[in-house]
Symmetry: C2
DNA sequence: ACTATTCTTTACTGATCGGTCATAAATTAG
DNA sequence: CTAATTTATGACCGATCAGTAAAGAATAGT
């Protein structure tokens, strides 16, 4: 998974995957079928792990808003390395030309967005976020900002201004 | 250029480039040296054209804010196709592993960000954007949002909600 | 202990990759 | 019109690609 995450699909060869996994070529093919299936497996694994980590911190505090902040910090700190976010990387590299990948990304992203919108709704009920803002719109705003941050951090921005920008966004909701 | 834009660097073969350009293999190599140099040339060409188009609409109106909206609409409409934005695509695919590309992207992005910040500053002087917001921060916010939009549009979002989101962002500045 | 079966390893395939180079065509010079 | 020089062409190169299949090692069944 790490190889795909770091280098992307096309740039990762089966030899790379053998080195990373320690397994030999035949074993990989016997276990996964082909490169594409192995990639799909990796993508789903990544999504599950990341969603799990995000959900794990999302109930730490009594305050829904604090939970949102914790979750966003978690995601942002994951994505602030040069590896970025594997979902974002895959959207850019494969989604336009690979229907199976696009469907998977759509499903995963919608799930994550529902989760965020739900948390925002709770924060509104708790009076921590202004109630006149639609949770779905704020969730989209957050997803866009996270995706953009994961992109820009790779090329020309320090992580800190991007993190500040995310904080500012959430602050603007209260 | 179009091939790199659509498919990315690794997924575009020299044969593809021959088909697209009509030129034959040897001619391409004689003219550009190698694939990487040809890509750099394409990237700079893309950046020049896009910046030119953005700058062209940036003085259409008397109102700086209207000019910002026009420019953003222009960028967003370019990037709302499945091709996305070539700069964003390149940041994701190549920037982490290719110092030359990263430097080029950094230079181009900073230039664009200075341009946007400058426009925001003018809009503030004209009283169209709240003056207490730092132009550089707003410019970053906009770049992040544009980059995120160009990513998400490829995988799971219709273009319209993303365009609305961008409009909302600018509205929040006034 | 012996056979049957599963898993592991690696040599191999055809295709395609980026890149080169000798030749052919075209252009220019005299 | 011919010779020299530039430009266009595609056959060709070694390397590497994703993927296969046969041989070898380990495990399980009886």
């Amino acid at each position: 998974m790490d190889a795909f995450w770091t280098k992307g699909y096309e740039a990762t060869s089966m030899s790379d995957l053998c080195c990373r996994t320690g397994l030999h070529k035949g074993s990989l093919y016997q276990a996964f079928g082909d490169k594409h299936k192995l990639f799909m497996e990796s993508l789903h694994h990544y999504a599950d792990v990341e969603f799990g980590k995000a959900a794990a911190v999302a109930y730490d505090s009594e305050s829904p808003l604090e939970n949102i902040r914790a979750m966003v910090d978690m995601i942002a700190s994951e994505a602030k390395s040069e590896k970025g976010c594997m979902m974002v990387n895959t959207m850019v590299e494969l989604a336009p030309h690979d229907p199976e990948v696009r469907e998977a990304l759509k499903t995963i992203s919608r799930k994550r967005m529902r989760f965020i919108a739900d948390m925002i709704g709770k924060a509104q009920q708790a009076g921590e976020i202004r109630a006149e803002l639609a949770p779905e719109k704020l969730a989209l705003q957050l997803m866009v900002t996270l995706a953009g941050s994961a992109t820009l951090v790779k090329a020309f921005m320090d992580g800190q201004p991007l993190l500040d920008n995310i904080e500012n966004l959430i602050d603007s909701w209260v």
